[in-house]
Symmetry: C2
Subunit: 197 residues, 2 copies
């Protein structure tokens, strides 16, 4: 069908987004076409705008629309703490927690010999530079509790040993979590890290 | 965060698409930002293009980029058959089946007294006009097997009684379907409509 070529191309591209497949992309595109003035045109404009302006912060790797992101430029966030995360999604998750008041360092992945990801690819030298440049007193390693994440955390801890306080997120029972549904490792970790009243 | 306002607005709009929520919209937007040259810019351009050009066919209600859609303008599809469907998604599903060679009529919903949807809102008068204008011999009612769909099918059948052959899709066991997983109604319908060898 000739006159629907653009619509089919749009469905194909939408189907490449994570979380969408061919069927849900068709559904989303039909929904967009039905609301083309109210939803589709604003979405297209916003997406074009972000595609032009989005960039990674040269200091920490966060995503924003300026060379240095808001968190790195904010004097309020210069409290001597850096929280090291794997990914921008993890940074956003930490920000939603509203508990951390310092700055971030986004690695963009984990060390992996198989995929040839070394410290250079993960901005680890930049992290070490930042520790002295920004007078950092504590580095919080908020890496995922996976084998790769923990390997990377140990590597960074080795590099910074003796220069700053190193910490990692506490492991234990999640808020609202039921013991019956937790894995054995989490229960053991929570018991070992138990707190006295 | 000021410099990420566009990114947050984009996530909010993406989260309004069917099949996406706030979490999957964040994931999709991060994926798009990572591939902004290869994926995000083309997607934004295509979406803007479709938002400008997409329209409903004045004859059948199909979605396309011209006033009268390809199927309605194609002489090959003028075989005297019209397939009546509820929605453009159903038309696309029929087209994927590659079995129907005639034209379509998209109602855009089903009759519903509660929602004040009458025949006028569903292009039913236009369907009745088309039957004489396009020398239609058979109308296939491919409406969903729901109460509303079947009510609408009966209403259209009443209107066209005696003027054309009326038919509906066969009901039975889906290809690859296992009896054990089928509902009782489908098994009963398949048994009643059994074919002799």
């Amino acid at each position: 069908m000739n006159s629907t070529r653009d619509i089919e191309a749009l469905i194909d591209v939408m189907a490449r987004l994570p979380g969408l497949g061919p069927r849900s992309a068709r559904r989303a595109v039909l929904h967009l076409i039905r609301k083309r003035a109210l939803l589709m045109q604003p979405l297209a404009d916003l997406m074009g705008q972000v595609a032009l302006t989005a960039r990674e912060c040269l200091n920490c790797g966060n995503v924003g629309t300026t060379e240095i992101c808001d968190i790195c430029t904010s004097a309020k966030r210069a409290n001597g703490q850096i929280c090291v995360v794997e990914d921008v999604a993890d940074l956003w998750a930490m920000e939603r927690g509203h508990a951390f008041k310092g700055r971030y360092h986004v690695l963009g992945g984990t060390l992996s010999a198989l995929d040839q990801v070394g410290p250079e690819q993960l901005r680890i030298p930049r992290l070490i530079d930042r520790v002295s440049e920004e007078a950092i007193s504590e580095v919080i390693l908020a890496l995922n509790a996976t084998v790769d994440g923990q390997t990377t955390a140990h590597y960074i801890a080795d590099q910074l040993e003796g220069r700053v306080t190193l910490s990692s997120l506490a492991q234990g029972v999640p808020i609202g979590g039921e013991l019956d549904y937790l894995d054995d490792g989490t229960i053991a970790a929570a018991l070992n890290a138990r707190k006295t009243f």
